[in-house]
Amino acid sequence: QQQVKQSPQSLIVQKGGISIINCAYENTAFDYFPWYQQFPGKGPALLIAIRPDVSEKKEGRFTISFNKSAKQFSLHIMDSQPGDSATYFCAATVSGNTGKLIFGQGTTLQVKP
């Protein structure tokens, strides 16, 4: 119940295309769903996050879509660029001082020029 399942494991997209990464969770108590971006040899950095009271959040070219009934959320990268090539992790937690982030397995994205 504590797992977050992420797919696909790897993704290749042409420059200008849309990259889509999906995650699914079981624990209905989760109320915070962030995405982290990690470049090779670096630590992950918070990219964008959503709470279940909204179905979509957009920041620039990055959009999170959230489906509470299906317990799924996804990251869409519009107009993908070679600089977006990185590993992306979804995560989920119960917010506050007791929750711990549960990470998905990660998706390695390669954007070809």
Partner: protein, 113 residues
């Protein structure tokens, strides 16, 4: 502004040797501190977290230990390294009471040979 320092960046150690990785946070007080391990091509595994000096919670049984001798210092140790301890070790911090937003260090790539 807050910064997190983690060192060394890379480390090659023989099997059976000791380990000490250090992490310090600047610009904040009483942070929550975390050690994660990322195996090649895999997700982020939480190893230890700490909500205060001397307070350590272990997430998985293993060959490693953690200590927090000062408010903003977190140390990961081992008395005798195993081959399976190889991986990318990440230190992270979060604001007290806001555990869901993690800020990661740049990581240590540990190779046990």
């Amino acid at each position: 502004s807050q910064t997190i320092h983690q060192w060394p960046a890379t480390l090659v150690q023989p099997v059976g040797s000791p380990l000490s990785l250090e992490c310090t946070v600047e610009g904040t007080s009483n942070p929550n501190l975390y050690w994660y391990r990322q195996a090649a091509g895999r997700g982020l595994q939480l190893l230890f977290y700490s909500v205060g000096i001397g307070q350590i919670s272990s997430e998985v049984p293993q060959n490693l230990s953690a200590s927090r001798p000062q408010d903003r210092q977190f140390i990961l140790s081992s008395k005798k390294l195993l081959l399976s301890d190889s991986g990318f070790y990440l230190c992270a911090w979060s604001v007290w009471r806001i555990r869901e937003k993690l800020f990661f260090g740049s990581g240590t790539q540990l190779s046990v040979l």
